[in-house]
Symmetry: C2
Subunit: 439 residues, 2 copies
């Protein structure tokens, strides 16, 4: 990298959607302010998007918007390319080309990083380029920088959080207004918080993409998207939300990464959390991430996880960080995350994790039922911590709700297979994992 003091840092944006618009808005509106704070000028030189007609409510300098992605990626004047087209195919091509052209890249593309991160960071290292990806996880929460820089003196044992605002909005609506899942989803779609095809958000896939990135940073492991156990929120019923509340819990879609006994747990699933846990108070589209380090102890970071300006703010922070290194003539870079990848840490199989459970069994209201069920649980080393049976309906199915002590997932699944086969049990038993409880 050539030393180039006081020179201007030039930026090109590919993808002029929500986040692209937010990023452009900050770079243009705050031009003077950014220069004062950073100590060097940053200029938005080009924007490329297939749609150059749509109004974005932003006044661009003449001639910077075009449909020509190729020209932008090749432009020798551009130092940093911001990839905001999303998806994994075209975005991958653009980023690889940009890196090979010696450009630095900033991206918010968690799906691409989770699936092809290894290749992208390897290519970046080879070309002495940087990939900034603060915007890829939890929008305005600077969790990437916090883990890489602020917590560098820590061994992280535990990182979990709400990193999908859409799912949290739906669960919040279900909790606060007693809506069923479908109605709450429709509500989120009407307000623009959920896409027409909400699969990635409600099935936990988006959270798993982000968890892939967090775990790679926190534990120095390779990107492990395919090894993450992922379960969405479509099966959560108002009945479960009601019982959770009665027992003093909230149901949240959590992404969880834990380091224990030389192995890593990676999982995304709806989770019961004590109502007085700070994360339980995180409602609507907000995100929050809890991190436990051996030096810092417990910490929590809370903020908006998506949206034009919050995510644009994260993109701009990456642009300035990279710009500062360009201008300062720094010739080494913060290590890319795969270059330090540890291969000594195994990812635990979901069958092997241990946690407490909530069970909602639809059982006939007749004598002996509880003894049958608790007998099966006991034979699989699962003990019951508390139990509620509400609404007596002799000889009819009523919900029998149990909280267990810590048990092994494999044992729980085997026990539930047996329980679900009982003639006194109707329908499949609902089970949720519990976090944040003292066992």
């Amino acid at each position: 990298m050539k030393r180039a003091k006081n020179r201007t840092v030039n930026v090109g944006i590919i993808g002029f959607g929500t986040v692209g618009t937010g990023t452009a808005r900050i770079l243009l509106d705050k031009q003077a302010d950014l220069e004062r704070k950073a100590g060097f000028p940053v200029r938005l030189r080009r924007i490329a998007d297939l749609d150059i007609k749509r109004k974005r409510g932003i006044k661009l300098p003449a001639g910077i918007l075009s449909r020509d992605v190729e020209a932008l990626v090749r432009d020798p004047e551009i130092d940093i390319i911001v990839e905001l087209i999303g998806g994994t195919r075209a975005a991958r091509d653009v980023i690889l080309k940009a890196l090979k052209n010696g450009k630095h890249v900033v991206t918010a593309n968690k799906a691409l990083l989770a699936e092809a991160g290894q290749e992208l960071f390897r290519t970046a290292a080879k070309n002495r380029a940087v990939i900034g990806f603060e915007a890829s996880v939890a929008g305005s929460i600077p969790i990437i920088k916090v883990i890489r820089e602020s917590l560098i003196g820590n061994s992280i044992s535990n990182i979990y959080g709400i990193i999908n605002g859409t799912a949290n909005y739906i669960l919040t609506k279900m909790t606060e207004e007693g809506l069923d899942f479908g109605t709450a989803l429709g509500n989120a779609q009407a307000r623009g918080y959920a896409e027409a095809d909400p699969t990635f958000d409600i099935e936990g896939i988006d959270s798993a993409h982000k968890l892939t990135i967090l775990a790679a940073l926190a534990f120095g492991i390779p990107f492990s998207f395919k090894k993450i156990y992922t379960e969405g929120i479509t099966g959560i019923t108002p009945l479960d939300i009601h019982f959770a509340s009665e027992l003093g819990y909230k149901i949240k879609l959590l992404a969880i990464a834990k380091h224990a006994d030389g192995a890593i747990e990676l999982r995304v699933h709806p989770t019961m959390l004590p109502a007085d846990d700070l994360i339980s108070s995180v409602s609507g589209v907000f995100n929050a991430i809890f991190v436990e380090g051996d030096a810092t102890g417990e910490a929590l970071y809370y903020g908006r996880g998506a949206g034009e300006m919050p995510t644009g703010s994260a993109v701009v922070s990456d642009i300035i960080d990279i710009g500062r290194r360009i201008v300062s003539g720094a010739d080494t870079w913060l290590q890319g995350i795969t270059m330090t990848a540890r291969t000594d840490l195994k990812i635990k199989k979901m069958d092997d994790i241990r946690t407490c459970y909530y069970l909602r069994i639809s059982a006939l209201d007749k004598p002996g039922v509880l003894s049958r069920i608790s007998g099966i649980l006991g034979s699989h080393n699962i003990s019951i911590r508390s139990m509620i049976q509400k609404g007596r309906k002799k000889e009819k199915a009523v919900p029998l709700v149990m909280m267990t002590h810590e048990a092994r997932e494999r044992d729980m699944r085997q026990a539930l297979r047996e329980i679900n086969r009982l003639s006194i049990v109707s329908g499949r038993t609902m089970y949720l994992r519990v976090e944040g409880d003292e066992d």
Copy 2:
């Protein structure tokens, strides 16, 4: 700065107390881990302290601990000097000398930065050196980095929080166990959370030191410690805690900085916050800082504000940041905070701030009293939002508690002078400012 790829970064610590021990522990225990993550080796070369006998429960390499501060500051091998002696006189000398010797400095000394920051940062700039001070505010919460780097694309309108763990511990004990102030303070001292002379913590001075630093960063203003309105928690009674709780509030010692109408509010005082505000859930010695930026919206950062390892972790993050720049041969630096100081922003006089208030008036229980008091408030443009009078004792003094709509501080003070002079009022009226409420 000479380019020096793959070279070792050498560190000297002055002050081997709590934070010095934590810092040394991380640098020694995590040596290999830090090198793997940072990409270069960091070595603890020297520690200087007047007391070289006391056991700190840490095994140091032979010969690195001495009483010779001068030798450490002059040692040509040392790149970064960590100042952890505290106080403002000797610490200032050490830092100035180190900077003039071309060394970078890391410090946790908020009192010194608040009082002499201008001079220190000017000296650093002149010597092309960096001062790292992440550890000076809120221990393990990386608020310095977040404001300077992550939120660089934002105009911050509002930053407030709990940044003194001792005061928060005392208020938490008073709230949860009904203790009076003196008992709670004794409790904090017994547990090592408060010093023998607790003045700085309980009178809000420590919070004001930290707020000075936060405001300089958030708004780009000069260090303004002397202009901060500072009020401690010694006047808070169990009765106020009780009424706060009854009205749905908690009492917290907040440090508040707001930017509105081209002026800055800077104040530290006990504050009533709605009980469902996230900051209200922050208990014990924990810290939390709320920041509102125009792009990010609302954000909250929560963690341990003090202690050997949390603060040591912050010191180490600064060491690695500075080390990375040394090793990369960067020849410009993140702007020091005073170099961008804005002089166009005035600090508001306390008399001119507007807020809602809680009043606890000790008034005789007889007809006409409420009309007299509300008449005085009304004549000063203060209107009452709600009122409680508990425990009837005819013709005796009983607490009359009021919540007001937003009013001006000057008006409130004048009204209270008149109210306190009334013969039907005994003793001084307690008043607290309220934040986080919709008016």
